[in-house]
Amino acid sequence: MNLVSDNLFATVTRLEGKVSIVFDGKSDRQNPGEIITPWSEKVVPTLSGLDVDVDFRGLKYLNSSSFMPIFKMLSSARDIANNVHVRYDGSVNWQRLSFASLETIAKSWPNLHLSNH
């Protein structure tokens, strides 16, 4: 159930009670939702009751159009998963700016956790 597109990749690994999703590559398509949304619609229903770890630190670039489908995936995952832990690299400017909104939102979403290192 991995995501494999021209530049963007996500590897899904399942352990006992936990799921790890690691993003890699870069998302610079004009309409990245065409790739991310169908994939997330398959993955998210399998996350029910699990602890989900989503790691964006390996991403080289994420354009502005890519954030919304990823945000919707995280939002849907949070609805059914036990906990969703998002990891990004705060020392990279575009990553810091991209996930700053999530930092604000996480304050009102108890099972969404972020770490920026």
């Binding site: 159009s65 400017n93 575009w94 700016l97 909104s101 604000t104």
Partner: protein, 467 residues
């Protein structure tokens, strides 16, 4: 007559009787007999020669028959592969067959000529026999000759007839095949010519039809494009008309520019002066193009309306109002859009208050000649239903000689030839360098011209404010 005379007479009569009998039953004349035998031998020799010639003739026919059959087989193969064969190859096959048939015909003519020679020789032989001996010899040897002749000539005749028949049958069969194949070939050629002519005509007709369709479609497309570009131009005009024409902020110099990546962009900036102070707004709708431009126009309307109606609204409150106004409309558009936005309010005392998550704010400090980087906080618009209007606001001052730079990611994400982004650090350097320029407009041009050779895939907006 006494007894001894009678006995003598009986002996004499007996001798005469035996002599008479001997005379009557003596062998034929040796000389005539040998001549007849020689004639017969000659006739047999002639017949053997004839047999030999006939055999040779059969061999010749047989030898010619094989290549003829091979040629016909080859012709058959060629005809089966006719669609893929060139006509020259077929012509060579036909020529080969024709040549083989001509050879066979020549052999047959020679054979008939030989038969005539045989018959002439035969007649001469009979005449020689007739002229050479007695009637009895002639009849005797004539019978023998006739017996031999009939036997041989009959066999010969049968053999010749059979050979002739086989040859004629083969020849006829081959000719029929050739004729049949020729007819098939002609029919195929005629069919091919008709098919080709029909196909060419259809293709020509289709081509004309297609050309006509293409012309019509091109005209339709041109019309649609003209209409679309007309509408796009109109949208661009509307968007441009929404931008502040001569932006000004009390006690500051201001210069601003926006360069959309497409005809219609998703970047947004505005400067609105009210009795309470001056608002500087900058934002960026995700993506670019018409849909982003529409969201931008919604934002502009929502911001302008909210500021003018709510005299004492704070930056976080303004963002909360704009978010609640826009989010339903964005959903109705069916677009996965959101908007970064920072609103800065300069009160009448000269203090700046800001809120909203967008790019970092860069401030060139004249006293230190360094660039200060202030991170924006909050949340993007369009992500959640409600934004807390009590979110903390930031604050800064702008002294004389300081320069405030607000921008969208079109400039910080512009790429150098080596693929490196300019980033906020690179932009800070440009801001620092631009401060040497006297006018704010020159400084802005310096910054935007510095990234002209970089790869820019997004709308680009820069607002430069000098204290």
């Amino acid at each position: 007559m006494n007894k001894s005379q009678k006995s003598g007479l009986a002996v004499v009569l007996t001798a005469l009787l035996f002599g008479l009998l001997y005379y009557q039953t003596r062998p034929p004349d040796e000389e005539g007999h040998l001549g007849t035998i020689n004639s017969l031998r000659n006739a047999r020799a002639s017949l053997r020669e004839i047999e030999l010639e006939i055999s040779n003739l059969q061999l010749t026919i047989s030898e010619n028959y094989q290549p003829l059959q091979a040629s016909i087989s080859s012709f058959d193969s060629s005809l089966e592969e006719l669609p893929s064969l060139v006509f020259s190859s077929l012509r060579r096959e036909v020529s080969s067959i024709t040549e083989a048939l001509e050879n066979g015909s020549n052999q047959l003519a020679q054979y008939h000529e030989y038969i005539e020679d045989f018959q002439t020789a035969n007649s001469n032989l009979i005449a020689a026999i007739i002229d050479g001996d007695t009637h009895a010899k002639m009849r005797y040897f004539g019978e023998l000759y006739e017996l031999n002749y009939n036997t041989h000539s009959y066999e010969l005749s049968i053999a010749i007839d059979n050979a002739t028949l086989r040859y004629n049958q083969a020849f006829q069969s081959d000719m029929e095949k050739i004729e049949r194949y020729r007819l098939i070939l002609y029919a195929w050629m005629v069919g091919l010519a008709i098919a080709l002519t029909t196909t060419i005509q259809r293709l020509r007709h289709l081509s004309l039809h297609q050309e006509s369709l293409v012309k019509q479609r091109t005209m339709d497309l041109d019309d649609a494009l003209s209409e679309l570009f007309g509408e796009m131009e109109l949208a661009k005009k509307i968007q441009t008309a929404l931008l502040p024409r001569s932006p000004s902020i009390r006690g500051c110099e201001v210069a601003a520019t926006m360069k959309p990546a497409d005809l219609v962009g998703g970047d947004y900036y505005d400067i609105i002066s009210t009795a309470q102070g001056d608002w500087i707004i900058i934002g960026d709708v995700s993506g670019h193009g018409v849909s982003a431009g529409l969201v931008m126009m919604m934002a502009q309307t929502a911001v302008a309306t909210s500021i003018r109606q709510g005299a004492n609204v704070t930056p976080p409150e303004l963002l909360a109002i704009v978010n609640s106004t826009m989010i339903e409309n964005i959903r109705r558009l069916g677009e996965q859009k959101y908007m970064t936005m920072t609103v800065v309010f300069r009160d009448l005392s000269g203090s700046f208050h800001f809120a909203g998550l967008h790019q970092d704010i860069l401030i060139y400090r004249d006293h230190s000649q360094e660039v200060e980087n202030i991170a924006t906080t909050g949340i993007w618009l369009g992500l959640v239903e409600e934004i807390d209007p009590k979110l903390p606001a930031g604050h800064f001052e702008l002294a004389k000689g300081d320069a405030l730079l607000l921008y969208t990611d079109g400039i910080t994400e512009s790429l150098a030839e080596d693929g490196q982004m300019l980033d906020s650090d690179g932009l800070a350097s440009l801001l620092k360098s631009s401060n040497a320029l006297k006018s704010v407009n020159e400084a802005l041009s310096y910054i935007t011209n510095s990234v002209e050779n970089r790869e820019i895939d997004d709308d680009l907006t820069v607002i430069l404010i000098r204290g």
